[in-house]
């Protein structure tokens, strides 16, 4: 077993706990998409081409509400704008790689893989540590495609009142668990969360995600600066 493969496997192991809530999410997406009238092929196409859970659900919501293509595309872009920040963090670790690897890694740069690989990148000094992200991203890819497929088949068999979409915020909550103990993190979390909550209906194009994240990051910038002054 070579070292690339070992790190790839480590990525799979690390990301696995985060895959449990992806299962109902993928099922919900598949079921919902067929329900509003997309063909099975177009539904699979969304999961393969977009490969971004939250944005795909928003695409469905807006599409069924009769939103224009421009609004849908901008909203998908706004929801996924958080990847810009993931990319900024990850770029530091992959800046020496060939373009082809950057192209591959970009496809797999998703929430769950970023969350675990970011922690791994901070600790690891190995040159091929990017295989961790590919392992995590690939695992999520397999789960996402297969649960989309299952959702298409299951159709209406799963009762909506089970409220499985609640698994989505729970996943993100679980990812943040270690940050609840740190004061600056808690303030940043509350700032971002409250802006998203109250801006949800007022910030156009579903841009509340990037607006909240930007203000949250600005808060972190100011607070870390203030903290340094008093140390």
């Amino acid at each position: 077993m070579n070292s690339n493969f070992k790190i790839f496997l480590k990525g799979i192991t690390d990301v696995s706990p985060l895959m449990i809530p992806v299962v109902p999410f993928g099922l919900i997406f598949g079921i919902l998409s067929i329900d509003i009238g997309f063909s099975p092929l177009a539904t699979m196409g969304m999961s393969l081409i977009i490969f971004g859970g939250a944005s795909q659900i928003i695409l469905l919501q807006l599409f069924s509400g009769g939103a224009s293509s421009l609004v849908i595309i901008s909203s998908v872009g706004a929801v996924n704008s958080r990847h810009l920040l993931y990319g900024a963090v990850v770029s530091e670790h992959v800046s020496d790689l060939k373009l082809i690897w950057k192209i591959i890694i970009s496809y797999f740069l998703i929430d769950q893989a970023f969350a675990v690989s970011n922690e791994y990148f901070k600790k690891s000094k190995e040159k091929n540590k990017y295989f961790h992200l590919i392992g995590g991203g690939f695992t999520c890819w397999i789960i996402w495609q297969s649960t989309t497929f299952l959702g298409i088949i299951l159709g209406a068999a799963i009762p909506e009142k089970l409220g499985l979409s609640f698994a989505v915020p729970l996943t993100f909550l679980a990812i943040l668990v270690n940050d609840f103990r740190k004061m600056i993190n808690v303030i940043v979390i509350l700032t971002s969360g409250l802006i998203a909550l109250f801006g949800y209906n007022y910030i156009p194009y579903k841009a509340y995600v990037i607006v909240a994240a930007f203000v949250g990051l600005l808060t972190a910038y100011i607070l870390t600066k203030v903290k340094k002054k008093y140390e």
Binding site: I20, M46, F51, D96, G163, A174, N185, S192, L197, A220
Partner: protein, 103 residues
């Protein structure tokens, strides 16, 4: 616009959000200060998905009363802070949610 064009454009913009920073930023552009601030990225982004999903109802208005998701999220958070375990946190949240809505 046909469905497929919509899907492809959404895919393109999504891919660009992932690829652009990785392709454009260089190592020298990062000092320790930027790194420190960027370490707060998860805390700045994930709440923007969590809060609306918990506090808003299907029509998008804030629902504070008779909202089982709030209590379930608080229980999940408590379990999470206590156990530091991702799976335990998610299961505690789902289990309490189902307990509240079905019993």
């Amino acid at each position: 616009m046909s469905d497929w064009f919509l899907i492809i454009y959404c895919g393109l913009i999504t891919y660009l959000t992932r690829f652009s920073m990785i392709a454009l930023l260089k190592k020298e552009m990062f000092n320790n200060r930027i790194r420190e601030v960027l370490s707060y990225v998860p805390s700045a982004i994930f709440p923007a998905i969590i809060f609306p999903a918990i506090f808003l109802d299907n029509s998008g208005s804030i629902q504070l009363e008779e909202n089982p998701k709030i209590l379930a999220a608080i229980i999940a958070m408590g379990v999470g802070i206590f156990s530091r375990n991702i799976i335990a946190t998610i299961f505690a949240g789902l289990a309490s949610y189902w307990t509240i809505i079905f019993i």
